[in-house]
């Protein structure tokens, strides 16, 4: 059967209840008649032979680049950088696409007699990956060949000895990136483009940058003018990264970009019902739903989290392209849109969304309240092209327990951000002016970032800035089933049920609002007209 595109369902009396994520669990919600539910397209057929496709891409690069073997020679300095643990979501079943690509690149490098090869995880200000995570991303073969010799490293945005100031863009944006990468004869970047935001010049200009450089685009002003940051031509975040990327290229850094796209087959078969349309659930799907939802509902959140984070996604490679950054990324975006694009007619008064247990910044970790806001208002809200799904002044309703829980090892600065900054202000501009600098330069956070597995001290600010566009656009944010104190701390309104939320929303959007629900998984991008 051919793949079905995404579509917009109008809820009627015959529509069964809709699946909604609620953090480490999920449930069914009956949406009001006349509501719309947006369903993602079905998964794109994966490439039959991923290794052959990767090899073909490396031998037939796009844009102004020679085939990879022609760029490799003995005595050269080669740096291979790769996306970190934040991609893909959930982590994919082995072999990870990074492993497949890097193995192919290293095969070619070995054949060409390249000795000086260094692998760098492009963390930016994310936490360092653990050995298990690196082994999963790269495979044991790569890990065992490079890590014991110190040739597998993780970018350190706070290591002055390994940062190189490239220069300033015409807009005065400072560009400072990983020195080893910048001084290599060839920088190969291995990307996973799970959503349209990833890849392009953002890979190097963000993934290998320092705080000094990142602050020029990771700020409230840029994020408010990225409409959306999932749509590169309309994203100020990307415009800034593109300027930086071009400056990096002009400075002589030779980047060979390898971008990959995955299909949206998100959950393994045991949880496959999550991504099916409810009226097509079989008896087995319903039995699985009842069993898993009841079990997760009765499982302590900590244990449920462990179970869910252990899931591996059956994501499969749908395309791989290599060569010059911009030519590659243009082709990549075509594939992303082919998998994720859904046409939607018109905006809505209320946008509803169930938030899952995972976002890019809590892999094997806890989804704290700041990340809840970031996932809903940063990611899901911004998954559009054209216009936001919700009208200006509308309401966003999210389902999530929003417990005030934090992973002390991964998110230490988030705890202080939650306790010290949010009680003072939820305004991104004010916190940017008054609080960001002190968190970004706090030596304890820097120490934890460099030596432990902590996100950088400034990271919670960035997550909040991610919400800046949505916060400026919507009239109210309501969290159903969330911890009331935590929800209020975020500046949102708590509600106990959807009916309750609609009642609260009526103050903003009137008594007969239109409602659109974002059905996930899997992820999709709305092309709103």
């Amino acid at each position: 059967m051919s793949r079905r595109p995404g579509f917009v369902l109008e809820v009627d009396r015959s529509t069964p209840p809709t699946l909604v994520w609620r953090g480490e669990g999920f449930g069914l919600e009956t949406l009001p008649t006349g509501s719309r539910v947006i369903y993602a397209p079905e998964p794109v057929q994966p490439l039959e032979d991923p290794y052959a496709a990767i090899r073909h891409a490396l031998l037939h690069p796009l844009g102004d680049r020679d085939p990879l073997p022609a760029l490799l020679r003995p005595g050269m300095k080669l740096t291979v950088c790769f996306d970190d643990v934040s991609l893909p979501l959930p982590p994919m079943e082995a072999p990870d696409v990074r492993q497949m690509v890097i193995e192919t690149v290293l095969d070619m490098a070995a054949e060409a007699g390249v000795d000086d090869v260094l692998l760098v995880a492009a963390l930016a200000l994310h936490r360092r990956m653990t050995e298990d995570e690196l082994r999963h991303a790269l495979g044991d073969r790569v890990y065992d060949a490079f890590a014991p010799n110190g040739l597998l490293t993780q970018h350190d945005a706070e290591d002055p000895d390994n940062l190189l100031f490239i220069g300033e863009t015409a807009q005065g944006e400072e560009v400072e990136i990983n020195k080893r990468a910048a001084t290599s004869d060839l920088l190969v970047y291995v990307n996973i483009n799970l959503v349209a935001m990833d890849g392009g010049h953002k890979s190097v200009a963000t993934g290998l940058a320092s705080y000094r450089s990142l602050r020029h685009h990771h700020n409230p002003h840029t994020m408010r003018h990225s409409k959306s940051f999932m749509d590169q031509p309309s994203s100020e975040l990307h415009s800034s990264n593109w300027r930086m990327g071009r400056l990096i290229a002009e400075s002589g850094v030779k980047v060979f970009q390898i971008e990959t796209t995955l299909n949206n087959d998100t959950f393994p078969s045991g949880f496959g019902f999550l991504q099916k349309r409810e009226w097509e659930w079989s008896v087995r799907d319903r039995a699985k739903y009842l069993a898993t939802s009841a079990t997760l509902g009765k499982t302590p959140p900590r244990l449920a989290r462990q179970v869910l984070h252990s899931l591996r996604s059956p994501h499969a490679l749908t395309s791989v392209q290599a060569g010059e950054v911009e030519a590659v990324h243009a082709r990549t975006l075509e594939h992303v849109w082919a998998q994720q694009g859904v046409d939607v007619e018109g905006q809505t008064d209320i946008l509803t969304m169930g938030l899952p247990y995972i976002c890019p910044y809590n892999v094997n970790s806890i989804m704290n309240p700041i990340l809840v806001a970031c996932l809903g208002l940063g990611y899901f809200f911004n998954m559009y092209r054209g216009k936001p799904l919700v009208r200006e002044g509308g309401v966003v309703v999210m389902w999530h327990p929003t417990r005030p829980e934090f992973h002390p090892g991964h998110h230490p600065s988030y705890i202080d951000f939650y306790e010290q900054v949010l009680p003072e202000t939820v305004d991104p501009s004010r916190m940017h002016k008054e609080f960001e600098e002190s968190f970004a330069t706090d030596p304890w956070y820097v120490h934890l970032y460099r030596t432990g597995h902590a996100y950088h001290g400034v990271h919670p600010f960035y997550m909040w800035y991610w919400c800046a566009h949505a916060l400026a656009h919507v009239g109210r944010v309501i969290v159903v089933g969330g911890d009331p104190r935590a929800v209020r701390r975020l500046g949102f309104s708590p509600a106990s049920s959807l009916d309750d939320a609609l009642e609260i929303a009526s103050d903003v959007v009137g008594p007969s609002p239109t409602l659109t629900h974002v059905h996930n998984p899997p992820l999709f991008m709305s092309d709103v007209r």
Binding site: M1, T15, R286
Partner: protein, 328 residues
Amino acid sequence: MASSRFGTDRLRATVRSARFPLAAPTWPTSVPRPDPERRVGLDYDHEWSRRYPVRLARAVVMDNVTRPAARLLAPATVRGVEHLEHVERPVIFAANHASHIDTPLLLTTLPVEFRHRTVVAAASDYFFDRTWKSVLWSFALAAIPIERSRVNRRSADTAAELIEDGWNLVIFPEGGRSPDGWTQPFRGGAAYLARRTGRPVVPVYLHGTRHVLPKSAESGGPPPGGSGTESRRSGRLRRSPIAVLFGPPMRPDSDENAHRFSERVEAAVATLSREVHSDWWQARRSVSAVAPVAGAERAHRGPEGSPWRRAWALDEPPARRGDKEWPA
């Protein structure tokens, strides 16, 4: 009693009031219902029915339920089974077809070394049009779906692969049950498979099975209406003796095409049919090259004429024929 009734009613009410996900989901009005993806007919995956546990279960049912029931229902006179003793397996059994009961009756009369290693070619449009029927016949008879209205490469490939895999095949070359008891012209499927696989065809004549389970009106008999005096026995099981006659295995000659070979198989079945009413010698003599009986090769197709005359000729007891010939 009352409380039990009350409990049943409550259970029924609970079941009726169950909602999604306990009950099946309703379908949104705005979403067109696609044709259900039915893996039935030729698409039915019957591979499971030949796995060892299923074969074992089928053998248990066949030997302990179907076979005794068949003996009780249709006491069988079996002739020519000695032809199967030295034949190299697998073989293709080509039989005339007058009743749905033909298949189980034929299978239960096969020697044990054939019985549990035999698949049956069954009409995909009849036996495999529903999932439950597909499962039932695949299990009970090791049936495989074939296209009977036209030559289908997939059906032929499946049957040939199974034969090459060591499975005997029962096929009814008429392509369906006889409408009036007389044999219909044979189609070339059995002959084609014999030529393709190089396996012998064993002609089989089944006599009297239409009395055990007549063809019902619903399955192709006379149209509704009529005089009101039609038989009410059609489609019901009745106890009646039957005869199963196996002929010697046949192989196509090197220069014989499937059509010619099929005619020869049909003639062999016709000879067996005459054997029912006389004996082996008379039947052989009737088609001998020296003194053939006029029309003997086509006698199994019945006389030309009106339906009642065909029916009359069909049911004429052998004793009233008066044409018995003693061996010379």
